[in-house]
Amino acid sequence: MDNVVATPLAQGNNLTKSDIAFLAFLAIAMVCVGWVGRLAYIEGMNNEITKRNGESWAKWFTQAATDRGNANFQPQECASTTEQVVKAVASMAAVASASPTSEIGAPLTTGPAMTSPAPPPVLNPTPRSWGACLKALTAPGGAFGNMVNPFTKGEITMIPKCDMQDRSLAGGVMLEKIVATPPGSAIPFVNSPLTESDQIDQKMQIRVTVCDKGAYPIRISELEF
């Protein structure tokens, strides 16, 4: 390095040795910025994939909210038996009212006395739990069987909470059920993690959240399931 002097000796193209050294340093610095930028970009892309994962869950929940009352809804573990019963009853009532042999005001029964062009759907009133539904969804061949956590490259994990202290939670999906509190309560609703034992037969409000690379929560959506 030159040790004083504001006017160093110029060579052919006015480049001094220190100029060349500086240009080399500058090139290294720019490569360094590019490399760090690339790292940040990769992390950012992982966050994007995590968000897309969350959005897929939200999309499935939204879709299922309208369809899971149907008898042929798959996976059956996620179907709403309550809705299926209501729908079946409603369809039978409709059939009965449309039939010329039926009498207005006659009680609706599922017995052989009722004349019907098609047999009623087979109802399975066994209550459904979230655990079974989740298992069916994440099983190979399930809706989310192939979903990958971009941070761990492993399968997607359901987590109860995004905790910044625990970086291993990055890329996880957090599902919460939102329950309205009784009128007059200080807070209008409470949210708690959707656990495996939770019954999913009734309609419920769900919040989908994912954890980013620092295990910070990214809220995806709030929807009815």
């Binding site: 040790n3 004083v4 006015n14 100029d19 720019m30 970009y41 910044m164």
Partner: protein, 561 residues
């Protein structure tokens, strides 16, 4: 550089005030401008010439050429951003109509500019008198770029063009910036011919006589990136925006850090060309310790820390410090310097006011604790909590979360609130008056500089440039600048009348020598009238104080011979 009408400094100035004023006006009128200077272009010019003079002539200060260039440049940058945002569906899809309208507006402006330049081409020095000026213009590189900037838009009306290709072609609009950039680079090269890379870098990065327009463009470029990155940081905090533009923000931050890193290292490397920083190591260390350099360093530090140490600590909080980049703009404004000067100058008084305030806060907080603690142990739990209440009351903020309930506490609150008005008004008034004082001092300094400049009877182009730059900085109108020059000139005349010129300067002009001789004669006559003539001659003859010829001359002046 001196203007053609500059007068060599070694030529003795005329003492005739009228001539002096005439020369000053003749020298200064075409050169000195205020921040609001407008060109004076004759109305009688032919339409095309008149339009060219107002809109495109680069040689007429105060016309609209620079404004047009600036607005066109802003439109080009806006087009670039529009193009980038078109690739973000969440922004583009709901605002398709707006994007399209903006595109039409831009093309309309660029087309108008193209045809305007075409129409005015015969007035341009570059094409004037060269065969067919219109053809020369159309085939010139800048005109080709201008054409390419708008052609794709019209092309799609006739030929179905792929949208991606169209967007790529629209990128060509950036090339229009070369209209400003290329002349600046050419000038820079000419001025810096034969200089080393470091010296050129210094000219580019630091304000100097070698920088020219390219230095201004560099400053604008950095300032633009500062604004962009700060806006990005602010928008990142909006969850709905950050959710959709996360990747764009990451890329933008990396590019901004790249630009700022480059600038930082360039400054550190070439600072040794600055006076006072010449030593290779100590000079650079000195530069690195400068407030502006520390700010530059802090502006890029969070990016690297977060990248290298993210696995050790959660450094997300550092992102807020990217807002420090805003401080980089202080380099381009004198406001911070003025504020520092004002605070430094008024520091003793400000410190005294702060001391009184602190005293009052501690005393009233203690009294508040004394009166209210028993009544409200949860609110006036301790003296530090009472200090919060005292400051909120003293500053007339009054959140109301802590308020006194006892009669004594309320009385004290009344006193405290009333005192607060006065106590807080002191520093505010001090700063306000100090600011106007500082402005007055700086204007006085400029006036003194002008006083020195017109010492030789004229103002050179270099001096005019200094005055213009200062006038712009101090926001002086053209009228104020001329009034200042006039005042300085009158003071100069007054002082010059009172003080005698050096003899060699008088001797240089025979007319002045004659006038001076007459003044001397009259002074001798005055001396003769005032002294005792009876005693003068004996005293002169005694011990041969005067020679006989001198005594004869004395008598002759008295008219005794």
């Amino acid at each position: 550089m001196e203007a053609a009408n500059d007068i060599p400094k070694d030529q003795a100035p005329s003492r005739d005030p009228a001539l002096w004023q005439h020369r000053l006006l003749a020298d200064t009128a075409p050169q000195i401008h205020g921040y609001n200077h407008r060109a004076e272009i004759a109305h009688g010019l032919p339409m095309r010439k008149w339009l060219y003079s107002w809109l495109l002539d680069t040689g007429i200060p105060g016309n609209y050429q620079k404004d047009i260039d600036r607005w066109i440049a802003i439109l080009i940058v806006a087009n670039l951003f529009a193009l980038l945002f078109e690739h973000v569906p969440v922004i583009f899809e709901p605002n398709k109509v707006l994007f399209h309208a903006f595109d039409i507006f831009s093309v309309a402006i660029f087309t108008f500019e193209y045809f305007l330049r075409l129409y005015l081409a015969p007035e341009d020095r570059e094409f004037k008198g060269k065969g067919v000026p219109y053809l020369r213009y159309v085939t010139s590189p800048f005109a080709v770029i201008d054409f390419l900037a708008v052609a794709p838009f019209y092309l799609q009306a006739f030929i179905p063009v792929d949208l991606r290709m169209l967007r790529f072609l629209r990128l060509l609009r950036i090339l229009k910036l070369f209209r400003v950039l290329i002349p600046a680079v050419k000038d820079f090269k000419v001025v810096n011919q034969g200089r080393t890379l470091r010296q050129k870098m210094h000219a580019l990065v630091f304000p100097s006589e070698f920088g020219g327009t390219l230095h201004n463009i560099f400053d604008t470029f950095i300032a633009l990136w500062v604004v962009i990155s700060v806006v990005a940081v602010v928008l990142e905090s909006v969850q709905s925006i950050h959710y959709h533009l996360n990747i764009e923000f990451i890329v933008l931050d990396a590019v901004a850090v790249g630009v700022f890193t480059l600038e930082y290292f360039m400054r550190i490397y070439c600072c040794i060309e600055e006076p006072g920083y010449q030593h290779a190591i100590m000079g650079r260390l000195k530069q690195a310790k400068e407030t502006s350099s520390v700010i530059d360093f802090l502006a890029i530090l969070p990016f690297y820390l977060e990248a290298f140490l993210h696995h050790l600590f959660d450094l997300r909080f550092l992102r807020v410090f990217r807002l420090l980049r805003l401080l980089k703009l202080t380099r381009y404004t004198g406001a911070t310097k003025t504020l520092t000067k004002v605070i430094t100058r008024e520091w003793p008084v400000l410190a005294a006011a702060a001391f009184v305030m602190m005293l009052l806060v501690v005393l009233t907080a203690s009294l508040g604790y004394l009166f209210e603690h028993e009544a409200q142990p949860d609110k006036f739990e301790n003296i530090p909590q009472s200090i919060y209440w005292a400051v909120v009351t003293l500053a007339s903020v009054g959140y109301g979360d802590i308020s006194p309930v006892t009669p004594a506490g309320r009385v004290m609150t009344i006193v405290l609130a009333l005192l607060g008005i006065g106590i807080f008004a002191i520093p505010a008034a001090l700063l306000s008056s100090a600011f106007s004082d500082q402005l007055r001092i700086e204007r006085e300094t400029l006036k003194n500089e002008v006083y020195d400049m017109i010492g030789d009877g004229h103002i050179t182009t270099e001096e005019a440039n200094i005055i213009n730059a200062e006038a712009k900085r101090l926001h002086l109108s053209e009228e104020e600048v001329h009034r200042m020059i006039d005042k300085a000139r009158r003071e100069r005349e007054h002082n010059d009348d009172a003080a005698a010129l050096p003899l060699h300067k008088i001797a240089a002009t025979p007319e002045h020598a004659v006038e001076h001789f007459k003044v001397l004669l009259s002074q001798i006559r005055q001396l003769a009238l005032m002294t005792d003539a009876e005693k003068f001659e004996p005293a002169a003859l005694k011990a041969d104080r005067l020679t006989s010829s001198e005594i004869a001359l004395w008598r002759q002046i008295q008219g005794k011979m």
